[in-house]
Symmetry: C2
């Protein structure tokens, strides 16, 4: 299941990408437009900012804005920041690899085999889909 955090994050990013100009947009504006709890959205935008996806401006006329062009923001970045690993099992994760305790040998493991294929395909989609693709 996709968490609401990620869902809201994507919606907010798309909202920003759909802006004509790259002027800052207030949290409250996005929150109302996308039906997201303002405080929750605040924490989401903050992690996106800390990780170089968004910039922010304080004071009057402040808000959040994209730091890169939508076409240069792949969904892998967004998913990893908000949702965490893309793989369904840690033993097939690229960025969050962990060995299974219960599994004697990954090369023989059926679950590993299956989930590796799923990860490869999902990763391909996230890599090839940018914020620009979702904003049309």
């Amino acid at each position: 299941m996709l968490s609401k955090k990620t869902k809201y994050g994507i919606k907010a990013l798309v909202h920003l990408a759909r802006q004509e100009e790259r002027t800052p947009v207030q949290i409250s504006t996005i929150s109302k437009a996308e039906n997201i709890s303002q405080k929750f959205l605040e924490s989401i935008l903050l992690t996106l900012k800390k990780n170089g996806v968004l910039g922010s401006k304080k004071g009057k006329g402040g808000g959040y804005y994209l730091l890169k062009e939508p076409k240069d923001i792949p969904m892998t970045t967004v998913m990893r920041l908000l949702e965490g690993p893309i793989a369904m099992v840690p033993c097939v994760s690229l960025n969050f690899y962990e060995k299974c305790e219960d599994c004697p040998d990954e090369k023989i493991c059926a679950v590993n085999k299956l989930m590796l294929e799923v990860r490869d395909n999902t990763l391909k989609i996230f890599r090839n889909t940018t914020l620009a693709d979702l904003s049309n």
Copy 2:
């Protein structure tokens, strides 16, 4: 994340598929071989039985066995029974569809668009992968 329930279920099914003969295998045997808590495994095999994947035999020489050939058991069946929806979001689920409360129009929704593509790809893999494929 894949739940342990599903993970254990797949491992147990593969264990059964790898048997030379289709004679019943005891829960305790599978539990030991695959490092799975016996009671937990019991409940997993029970749901697989209730849904037509496994058969069981009581008493001495009893246990669980596959009701179909491994090549006739696609992973879609197993995933849906144990893990639930294959889609990451209910609004793109085939078997567990639900409308999002916060979303005014699915056709415009970026999350919907992205997750629909992911679901299509994942589904294709699960449909084309059978228990036989995992048992080699």
